[in-house]
């Protein structure tokens, strides 16, 4: 498929004895937003965290099948996981800026990954903050603590921090679930802006949000990918019974 950024092939995942994903096959297009929806515990977050291998740190985690990034298996033995996470950014449900200055937060990735300094680093920080629609709000206080920002600003800072690595794919795990409607709207607008540059995969519990921002929607249930389709198609004419039941609010 042309323009595929991430693809899973018969991907299964276990936490110890508990199987969290069953043979997932999915293709995520580049320059688009793909929403992962489904009830709690359906495996959508597990799948998201499998793409940049954040599940590696969990004891007893194992997988079968493959997740391809640009055609290469991220679980291949010669895959450098540090480099992988450099290419695949991630934003978490609860914003987690470091207790450092705004500047140092955004500069962290470029500093450790490519050793950027000085003028070049300044440029990357500014560009990343602009892309995250935060520059105008923080440009006069870059040296102040990131913890002094509002929740929505901190979450956009985390997006800017991820963007500073120039990732090909941006993963977001319910990025707006703890934000008020205004801050949520800003993040959604921002994601739509960003999709012209990279592939975005977003886990959300909020079906309206999935409908508003995403181009494709994937419905997970009990560790299986039930259906993945263009968002308009999936929400108006789902092929599967379970999908219809979920999006019409009959469970979940």
């Amino acid at each position: 498929m042309i323009g595929s950024a991430v693809a899973a092939r018969d991907f299964s995942f276990w936490y110890g004895k508990k199987q969290a994903l069953h043979g997932v096959n999915i293709t995520v297009s580049s320059r688009s937003i793909t929403a992962l929806i489904g009830p709690s515990g359906c495996g959508k977050s597990t799948f998201l965290r499998s793409i940049n291998r954040m599940n590696d740190t969990i004891p007893g985690a194992r997988h079968e099948g493959s997740v391809l990034l640009g055609g290469k298996d991220v679980y291949a033995p010669d895959m450098d996981v540090v480099h992988l996470r450099h290419r695949v950014g991630m934003v978490f449900q609860r914003w987690n800026p470091f207790p450092k200055s705004i500047y140092d937060n955004v500069a962290y990735g470029p500093r450790i990954n490519v050793g950027l300094r000085g003028r070049e680093l300044d440029d990357v920080v500014e560009r990343s903050l602009r892309r995250a629609a935060l520059w105008d709000e923080v440009k006069d206080r870059l040296r102040q603590s990131a913890l002094g920002l509002s929740g929505g600003q901190q979450q956009r800072l985390c997006i800017a921090r991820a963007l500073a690595n120039q990732p090909e794919v941006l993963l977001l795990d319910e990025p707006a679930s703890a934000l008020d409607p205004g801050a949520t709207q800003k993040i959604e607008e921002l994601l739509v802006e960003l999709k012209s540059e990279l592939a975005i995969v977003i886990v959300t519990h909020n079906l309206q949000q999935a409908g508003r921002v995403s181009d494709y929607t994937a419905f997970f249930y009990l560790g299986r990918l039930v259906e993945c389709d263009a968002t308009g198609q999936l929400f108006t004419a789902p092929r599967e019974q379970q999908t219809e039941a979920y999006i019409t609010g009959r469970f979940g």
């Binding site: 996470r85 991630m90 609860r94 470091f98 207790p99 040296r143």
Partner: protein, 329 residues
């Protein structure tokens, strides 16, 4: 009570007064509880104040007789009635400083290993053994110091510094090395302070939220970069607290230091020379002190130790507060 609320529209002040009164009257247990708890809480500062006053009063004759020379003079001559505690003050500060310099990196390493790197099955046993260091009686450390540490330092460590690293000409390693020394005291204090620092550090490292680790890892940090850039800065104030706890232990430690430091009231730049500490001075002379002035001088040493400990703790509080109140740049 329902009446009181209902009537509050017409006679608000009166009704409110009755409600408060009935509330206070209804819970005598609450009042007893509050009084007892307050008394308990006030007892601690009161005790501290009492100790300070008692020491101050007892120390006053010696302090007023010696004046500032009590902390600046090196002459400690009981017969002549001259009391200068400078060597003991110097010894306490220097031995504690050596202890921190040696113990802090080691304790940090132990804590990082146990909280971040060691396999699960190894963590509890090793943590237990490190904690056990704190349970060894101080006099046992002293014996071990006399029979093992002092000869080992004299026969192996000092020759290494002098001959292999050629540091014999520097003031720090000059002069004869008989055995009991400031260095021996510093090393033994380091071992004694280590479990405190590492236990506190381990706890604060474990308490660093998962989200901070995830943030660093997701940005492409290696495990080491994650520990160094995300975990340790987040835990900084707690780690400083642990170091201060260790310092408190080192400043006040008496028995083990007395057994290995040599107990000579002289200030020497050499770490190999014997020294003295305030705690050792008090412990050594208290049983033999017969004159009132001598007793008072020992109390004055205690007062100085007390004040130094207060200053150190105050500085630590300030440091922790400053670090905890956020980054400056």
């Amino acid at each position: 009570m329902g009446d009181a609320i209902a009537s509050s529209g017409t006679s608000g002040g009166f009704a409110r007064g009755r409600r408060v009164a009935s509330l206070a009257g209804a819970a005598p247990g609450d009042r007893v509880y509050r009084v007892v708890i307050t008394a308990f809480a006030l007892m601690i500062p009161a005790l501290l104040l009492l100790i300070a006053v008692a020491i101050g009063v007892a120390a006053w004759p010696a302090l007023s007789a010696a004046g500032l020379s009590f902390i600046t003079s090196s002459e400690w001559n009981v017969q002549a009635g001259k009391f200068g505690a400078a060597p003991a003050i110097y010894g306490t500060l220097v031995s504690s400083f050596i202890a921190l310099v040696l113990a802090t990196p080691l304790a940090l390493g132990v804590a990082i290993f146990l909280s971040e790197i060691a396999p699960k099955w190894l963590r509890q046993p090793v943590a237990f053994l490190v904690d056990l260091l704190a349970a060894i009686p101080s006099v046992v450390y002293g014996l071990w110091g006399i029979f093992f540490l002092v000869p080992m330092l004299r026969d192996h460590v000092v020759p290494f510094f002098r001959d292999t690293l050629h540091l014999g000409n520097t003031p720090l390693f000059s002069g004869p090395a008989y055995g009991p020394s400031m260095l021996a005291a510093g090393v033994i204090l380091a071992i004694m302070a280590l479990p405190y620092i590492s236990a506190v550090t381990r706890e604060v490292l474990i308490a660093v939220p998962r989200s901070q680790r995830d943030a660093a890892l997701a940005l492409g940090a290696t495990k080491w970069e994650m520990i160094w850039d995300a975990v340790i800065p987040y835990a900084r104030s707690g780690i400083i607290g642990g170091v201060i706890l260790g310092l408190g232990r080192a400043l006040g430690e008496t028995m083990a230091v007395t057994m290995v430091i040599g107990n000579r009231p002289e200030i020497s730049a050499s770490l190999l020379a014997p020294g003295y500490t305030m705690a050792s001075l008090i412990a050594n002379e208290f049983t033999e002190a017969t004159s009132d002035l001598h007793l008072s001088a020992l109390m004055a040493v205690g007062a100085v130790l007390f004040v130094i400990t207060l200053i150190v703790n105050g500085m630590a509080r300030w440091l922790v507060w400053r670090v905890a109140s956020g980054p400056k740049s």
